[in-house]
């Protein structure tokens, strides 16, 4: 028999194989992500634009009220709020959903051999599509208020890529932890809920140094700033750039090691 274990692949090469095969299967998970969107709104007239409408309703409801509460000009506050809420929604829904990535994919994983990472890419793509439905709202607000445009806004694109990379790594880590420890899903949901209030999404740091420091120390604030600051033609604070770049490096390392270590066991945990 020729079954002698001549060169057993290491867990790292197997993990890398998984990632590569997942990337090759791009049409599968991209279609799946699209189908998620279509199917959720099957039979509704507005389809995925319901998501846009509800965000629009939120912004136009909260905008005037909070601009009064905070004593800010609506003209300044509305674009700030719109960009903040839209980016926050992307972060929140991706992070919360990431916990159930493998749990939801269980039946498929038990039916056929399928690379694990494809499920993570599916999740990320779905939320990016949803984001693409909402981000035009910012530009509508911006145009409506007659605010100036600038090339500087294009910095939001690398910002978005960086944000997506970070979210992907977070999703891998959270998906693995929560398929093993189901309680983790509740923990994440609670933490994210509190984070909404602790992060400058709807409130503004303004000229208060204490709040500025709090925002600089908050990685979620950094993630929002990656897209919001360029769109508002403001510079991104160095602290936030450090968070984002450092975050993508550290999280990639953690997610790869975790994935390599536990990839094989995921199927037994679902």
């Amino acid at each position: 028999m020729t079954t002698a274990s001549t060169h057993k692949p290491t867990r790292y090469s197997l993990a890398w194989d998984d990632i590569r095969t997942s990337l090759v299967n791009v049409r599968f998970w991209a279609t799946l992500a699209w189908v998620d969107i279509v199917q959720r709104y099957r039979g509704s007239i507005l389809g995925p634009f319901w998501l846009t409408i509800s965000t629009a309703a939120f912004i136009s409801g909260i905008g005037p009220l909070y601009s009064l509460l905070f004593g800010l000009e609506l003209r300044d506050y509305l674009p700030y709020l719109a960009s903040g809420v839209i980016v926050w929604n992307l972060i929140l829904s991706t992070v919360n959903d990431s916990c159930s990535t493998f749990i939801n994919a269980g039946p498929l994983m038990k039916q056929m051999r399928i690379p694990r990472m494809a499920h993570v890419f599916h999740l990320i793509t779905r939320h990016v599509i949803i984001f693409a439905h909402s981000i035009p709202l910012f530009f509508v607000v911006h145009a409506f208020l007659g605010l100036p445009w600038g090339w500087q806004m294009l910095w939001a694109i690398p910002g978005f890529i960086l944000l997506t990379a970070i979210l992907t790594n977070v999703a891998i880590i959270f998906a693995i932890i929560s398929v093993r420890f189901r309680d983790f899903i509740q923990v994440v949901a609670s933490v994210m809920q509190i984070s909404f209030f602790l992060t400058p999404v709807i409130w503004h740091v303004g000229e208060r140094p204490a709040l500025r420091l709090a925002a600089d120390l908050n990685p979620l604030a950094a993630l929002i700033a990656l897209i919001r600051a360029p769109l508002l033609l403001e510079p991104i604070s160095p602290a936030h750039i450090a968070w984002a770049v450092g975050g993508v490096v550290v999280l990639s390392a953690i997610s790869f090691l975790l994935f390599a270590r536990y990839r094989r066991r995921i199927i037994f945990w679902v």
């Binding site: 028999m1 020729t2 079954t3 002698a4 274990s5 057993k8 090759v24 299967n25 049409r27 599968f28 279609t31 799946l32 189908v35 199917q39 099957r42 749990i103 039946p107 498929l108 994983m109 038990k110 039916q111 056929m112 051999r113 399928i114 093993r180 189901r182 094989r264 066991r265 199927i267 037994f268 945990w269």
Partner: protein, 250 residues
């Protein structure tokens, strides 16, 4: 050449979320006969397969028999590459098609046609190739207009038809399946038989887990008798079936 070689393959898994509703189903089917290893302060570990060594060659049509929880489905999943062995070596040469879970990989809220498309993508087919195989699947399932309806509206028999048609639409060298597949109505059973016959003639490998001795006599030329995750026998069908029946009576 299609071939499956398992050398001292062991599959173990922890029993987690035992009180968890979603897992209850899985557990009930798995725990009944597997060896349960208990270690202090660690989650219960089930050894689903214990040092399995089998060599399935081209042209073999192997039935797997054994009591509930003997590890039949686990063995199929291992051969399919779904479970990766803890220890031991495994080599599978040839394209593998699987028919393990009845709704596996299907999305109930999507139509039959959409599910066909998704499965095609998963198998790495181009849109053109998917369009080419679709009429054949439509024809085989005999589902007609139902293919434009969400799968949740299907009866379980209709789901079986679609699942079977999908798994066999692409020529695979190795077909791994659970016995429920052959549980359709008479008309479907005849069609399925015909399809399987065309698949297993030639150099293909079929591995079938079953409780039904008629199915195994009809379809297989070899059989594995599995008990508590161990291979008791791997031989010609008649000998294995009679040994299994004898054990079952005592």
């Amino acid at each position: 050449m299609a071939e499956i070689v398992l050398d001292k393959v062991t599959i173990e898994f922890p029993l987690l979320h035992v009180g968890h509703r979603s897992l209850k189903k899985t557990l009930v089917s798995r725990v009944t006969g597997g060896i349960i290893l208990k270690e202090a302060n660690t989650p219960t570990i089930v050894r689903a397969l214990s040092e399995i060594s089998v060599h399935i060659k081209s042209g073999d049509r192997v039935g797997i028999v054994g009591p509930n929880g003997a590890g039949k489905t686990s063995l199929l999943r291992t051969m399919a590459g779904i479970y990766e062995p803890v220890t031991g070596d495994m080599r599978v040469s040839g394209d593998v098609a699987t028919l393990l879970e009845i709704a596996g990989g299907m999305r109930p809220e999507l139509t039959g046609l959409e599910n066909i498309h998704l499965r095609g993508l998963l198998m790495g087919l181009s849109n053109r190739q998917i369009r080419e195989i679709t009429p054949e699947i439509e024809d085989f399932t005999g589902l007609g207009d139902f293919l434009n309806m969400p799968m949740r509206t299907y009866s379980s028999g209709m789901r079986v038809r679609l699942a079977f048609a999908l798994a066999t639409a692409i020529k695979a060298d190795i077909l791994l399946m659970d016995e429920w597949v052959l549980a359709g109505d008479a008309g479907f059973a005849a069609k399925a038989t015909e399809r399987l016959e065309s698949m297993v003639t030639g150099a293909n490998v079929l591995v079938l887990a079953t409780h039904n001795n008629n199915i195994i006599r009809k379809w297989c030329n070899k059989a594995i008798y599995l008990r508590q995750g161990e291979v008791m026998m791997f031989d010609d069908v008649e000998e294995v079936v009679s040994a299994y029946l004898k054990d079952a009576k005592t």
